[in-house]
Symmetry: C2
Subunit: 443 residues, 2 copies
Amino acid sequence: MRSEQSVLLTDLYQLTMLQAYYLQGLNDVAVFEMFVRRLPAARSFLMAAGLEQVLDYLESLRFTSEELQWLRETGRFRPEFVDYLAELRFTGDVAAMREGTVFFADEPLIRVVAPLPEAQLVESRIINLLQFQTMIASKAARCRLAAPSKSLVDFGMRRAHGAEAAMLAARATYLAGFNGTATVLAGMRFGIPIFGTMAHSYVLAHDDEAEAFERFAECNPREVVMLLDTYDVESAAAKVANMAPRLQSRGISIHAVRLDSGDLAQLARRVRRILDERGLTSVRILASGNLDEYGLRDLLASGAPLDGFGVGTRLDVCDDAPYLECAYKLQEYAGAARRKRSEGKANWPGRKQVSRHFSAGIMCRDEITLDSEPCNGEPLLQPVMRHGRRLAPSPSLPEIQQRAIAGLAQLPAELRQLEGAAYEVQVSPAIRKLASQLDRTMP
Amino acid sequence: MRSEQSVLLTDLYQLTMLQAYYLQGLNDVAVFEMFVRRLPAARSFLMAAGLEQVLDYLESLRFTSEELQWLRETGRFRPEFVDYLAELRFTGDVAAMREGTVFFADEPLIRVVAPLPEAQLVESRIINLLQFQTMIASKAARCRLAAPSKSLVDFGMRRAHGAEAAMLAARATYLAGFNGTATVLAGMRFGIPIFGTMAHSYVLAHDDEAEAFERFAECNPREVVMLLDTYDVESAAAKVANMAPRLQSRGISIHAVRLDSGDLAQLARRVRRILDERGLTSVRILASGNLDEYGLRDLLASGAPLDGFGVGTRLDVCDDAPYLECAYKLQEYAGAARRKRSEGKANWPGRKQVSRHFSAGIMCRDEITLDSEPCNGEPLLQPVMRHGRRLAPSPSLPEIQQRAIAGLAQLPAELRQLEGAAYEVQVSPAIRKLASQLDRTMP
């Protein structure tokens, strides 16, 4: 089971179209671009993420002998076409926005330039990879904006949609500014800092809550976090306060306590008081349970003495916008621009670039231009792959995170609020002219 | 990269708790059950799915030497504990609802009985697997109820949340009654029927739409489906009608046309007229684009002459309810029942069973009982694993689908509507009594 790497993780029509391209000899250079048609409600911006996995996929793209055999046996494909697939590699060029870049509707976040069959085949998986991480990074960035100085940890593995979603959600939230994740495998694979506490079942497995806390601290002295809400939060906080000196005398300090249900703001105040009265001012209070960027904002606005948050389900499934209206569209074939005109789904034709303009260090305007036009601002699409190979080693996740945080700081103030605000994205006159020309000449 | 099989696809706290269990010698038998606290808005029922992947996971659970080495290097775990993990296997018993079973809030859909560390460790991945497929199967069942006699195909791979979500969405929609999927790898791995059409890019890569259609039919004569909405739907339909006799004379029949944008009902009527006028009454009309169970219901209620549907994004991400409020909770440890009392998150204690009662072949009432009570109705939790091994080979997906469809036919009429309706689920007096006893005796 290596679904993540299989070329057959694609839509059947890609293969039937490829068979037609092959038989017709349609092998000229195609230009596809992926963009988001419109931002989800309440979003002011999106944050690009997922490019690393796309480049991995393109570099390693090949059909295994088992897959080729299965394709033969379906009876849908001609033998010579399956032989052709056996040799197929991705040999094209890719330009893309760097991960962590803020972007807007209609702006291409990746451009694939390759022989038509190669550029076509990869559509389904490129969308699958870029949509998900971009969606999650964008929501994580909103959480970071809502709680700029707090510890934020991804808790969402269990309700993420499967294994890869859990892994890539950990990655996307971290690159957008989270401190880490609870998902162990994301620590191993991606080097993301991992964090953990205890579960209610741990407390329930003991006859006595205080005993559960003390044993846990002894067994995991490195970072002790006690979960307070299995029975009664305040009495649990008192138990923690009672045992703190005893643990301290054995060299174990209590790092934090966690609240996971109830009125988090009110409980945090009560727990803070109980801890402070016993001199435990350095014990942090963490909260989790049903949180998202709005929950973070409201808790902090209420002045609740909370130091960190586990943000889980709503983030990892992006519950208020669980998909992006994105598309990967043919913009040019054999040197000629192309444009789909379907009702409500038309797109701008040609090979494009996005340039960003700043005023006093703050983003003020983007312009979508043809790639052949001069670019006055900062060009957002950068070449990352040539002839099927990466042009440079990928940046590390901490480097991407730094860039993402710097990018958020360049957002206009109104875009840093959680309510959706508009940003000016101009479409160059040359693109508009090209679109009109195509509308006149195409069937 | 085998995220799907890694034991480290779990939350860090599972491992820190395991270390504590290990050091404390807490190794008695624990009983965990997973249930859904409440149904999402507008849902009248859920459909169990994902058990097959859970059993695969439990049977193959082990830490690899690379994973153990990495755990050692984190500095979080004692060497003797890591040695213990090296030997850890899942040796417990599992009872579960069979896939395709309809169920309701508070009803356990799986019960895990195993030494505490084993039953604890698997929590995160069991939720991750069962939540997703159950959520998708439940929505797919609603689509099936909305369009009982139509062809329904999963089109959602590209916007599913990663690779495993795409694969398991294809599986869950099929077992809930879909005809198949567009995801090729799901055809190879799960034997699910695959379906495909053509994309707009195929038409755009040609200078002439009619030429694109005709070449496609020649290259893929087995199942010809023409996409009509790249430019103008009615003129595309006329082109299809024009070339049909020519193709027919060469032994190629046009199976269907597809609409992917605009007013689908109105366009379908116009296309039907164009095709029928030319005697092409057997050419089916398929629709796709932003569909869900409500879209299907409304299109069919309008009398639109549509024969089949590609249902994609909204289904595969379950956009109106992208997570379930589910929990996997300790119900019993070392022979004693346990109960969490957190605000708003209390659950029923003890080792439970669900019995279903019928009246004239229609479900009329469920009862949640203690497993030790006599069960009068049909018991929904069946033993599926003993000592870490499956008790019987798994049913095939077509068998599960048959059971699922039979189950939908047993739903009361009001539960087969898309608006949420209530169903009677009783909690036995013995469970209520046990809960009260625990509330009096626990801290």
